[in-house]
Amino acid sequence: MDTARPQGGAAALAEPGAGPDATTPALPAGTAGTAGGLQQRPAPSPGLRTDAELSDATRDDSSLRRFLRGLPGIDPVGLEQRAAGLATRSIKKNSKLQAIDLAISMVDLTTLEGADTPGKVRSLAAKARRPDPAQPGVPSVAAVCVYPDLVAVAAEQLAGSGVGVASVATAFPSGRAALAVKLADVRSAVDAGATEIDMVIDRGAFLAGRFGEVFDQIVAVRQACAGRRLKVILETGELGTYDNVRRAAWLALLAGGDFVKTSTGKVSPAATLPVTQVLLQAVADWHARTGEYRAVKPAGGIRTTKDAVRHLVAVNEVAGPAWLDPYLFRFGASSLLNDLLLQRRTQREGHYSGPDYVTVD
């Protein structure tokens, strides 16, 4: 059983009256086949440090606002400088090969197009299981990410493979629908066999300062997920400032999101190194205060191996080596996988490879 999922603490935090359905206690952990085959986290110590300030933050609307507005501000210049500094690290040879394999195992292979067909999802699922059939020892990716109506196809193809099925839901990508519609969206994905749910927050409500509304929606979606891991998409490209990104990340963590995810991939800018670092810092701080491990998923705009390795360096330096694990860090990407496979071949075969040697998605 996967005891690490941050069920207890977060649900307890959500309880004091803030959520629309505060009666639901901690869900039984490990009910669904979540992220099968991935490494499991050690359980947090039984004497969980339930931070008084954190539980107070979710008591009501105004205390939530006070908490989020009271988060320390971010120095954008310093943050971007640090991101640029870490990006200069040189990862070569064996370390690079290991980084590539780790990055492959962290990929959420994504197709979120209006033109998606069951056939495309089937071929994507085949690629997810064996990304490069010509090369032995290439790990499977972490999950396949599709729209809810294609979850059933993906789940059928990936049964027993250890590759998760992630589904976007809650009126992705805009998130502009009534809560009931969003919850129905989530339930349909869960019923079809999704093991992970990617929800979008209501950016309109967040930017208007209605933090409580966003919080309640995340809590409601979390309950509709019935134990599946929940990724909360902040859509950082629409939040405007790093301070807002930090507030949104904490809001998602307080509401019990298992992942904080940068973007839908439909808005530019999407995942940038500084933004990912803000999220990594948030989960690291969350771990320091509660002992729970939460995950981060940058998505959109990461296309090259170099970008991916830079993100891994940031993961190691900002959050810590514990996060160098597909359970706690993912890449939401489609074209990244091909570049990783090409670079892997280049490392193995000793000469540059070309796009003719990997599948066209």
Binding site: R345, G350, H351, Y352, S353, G354, P355, D356, Y357
Partner: protein
């Protein structure tokens, strides 16, 4: 009051994807004239520059191969126009760099312009010369059409810095290929000046990429590169040539090894043909009527 003007020395850089970057490695090497006098510091490309150039060439290939032969001919002709306009600059480069006498240098530049015009005229004649409508025993049309090979890596000849380079590059791009060319290591200045001509003509960025540096260092990486489709070994010495052919075999590249190198002679068609592939298409002639008098 008379003021002495400071000399403005030119920075010679690479030509990759339509831009003029320095070498990723930051390295340069000095180029000297025939008397051993210092002429310029030139970028010394690394294998990563070669990789970037291949990426640029691959990116440009689809668009360049997709242009109509008519349009491609116009663009190549435009290169000749621009080169003609800079005639004096190239004569000067050949005189100071190679020690050629001005008359010979002028003749070389004229020959280079004429060579480009020659290949510009070839673009819409390739299909007529190497294509055919094949007679077949069945209700089908069968056509053979020449198509560009893809990304070509070429080594420019060391003996003729301008005319040799032009004679290598022009036939490659005339048929719709894109090229990464390594300039002659001892005479790179006309090659970089030619890059300025290419950049100001209508050639899309990445169709021609020019690297300066040591071919023995860079060429093996290009020869083994999985995304390079063909190799032009005009400028490779005998020893390097064998190594490169061996490396190219790993990814089954088309390799062109020319015989003879008299650049003033008529260019012939061998270089055009070397980087063409012939595709044959079968197509039904249409419905065959059961009552006779059908589609064929």
């Amino acid at each position: 009051m008379s003021q002495q003007r400071l000399p403005v020395a030119k920075t010679y850089k690479l030509f990759v994807g339509g831009a003029f970057p320095r070498s990723e490695s930051g390295r340069t090497y000095p180029v000297r004239g025939p008397g051993g006098e210092f002429l310029a510091n030139v970028a010394r490309a690394s294998r990563k520059d070669a990789r970037d150039a291949v990426v640029a060439a691959r990116k440009a290939f689809r668009g360049w191969a997709g242009t109509t032969a008519y349009n491609r001919g116009q663009v190549v002709y435009r290169i000749a126009e621009m080169l003609e306009g800079r005639r004096a600059q190239f004569v000067d480069l050949l005189v100071t760099g190679d020690g050629a006498d001005p008359a010979a240098a002028g003749a070389a530049v004229d020959a280079a312009v004429d060579r480009i015009v020659h290949f510009a005229g070839w673009t819409d004649k390739l299909a007529a010369v190497w294509g055919s409508a094949n007679p077949v025993a069945g209700p089908y049309f069968s056509f053979s059409v020449p198509e560009p090979t893809g990304v070509v890596a070429a080594l420019a000849p060391p003996d003729d810095a301008l005319l040799g380079l032009v004679s290598v590059v022009a036939p490659i791009i005339a048929s719709g290929n894109t090229v990464v060319v390594l300039a002659a290591p001892d005479h790179p200045l006309p090659a970089i000046a030619l890059a300025e001509v290419l950049a100001t003509s209508d050639l899309p960025g990445g169709v021609v990429n020019i690297l300066t540096g040591d071919p023995a260092e860079i060429a093996p990486h290009l020869a083994a590169h999985g995304d390079v489709d063909a190799l032009d070994l005009t400028g490779a010495g005998a020893e390097l040539r064998a190594d490169l052919e061996r490396a190219a075999a790993g990814t089954v590249k088309r390799v062109h090894v020319p015989t003879g190198s008299d650049w003033t002679a008529p260019p012939g068609t061998a270089r055009l043909r070397a980087f063409l592939e012939v595709k044959t298409v079968w197509h039904p002639t249409g419905a065959v009527s059961l009552t006779g008098g059908g589609g064929y």
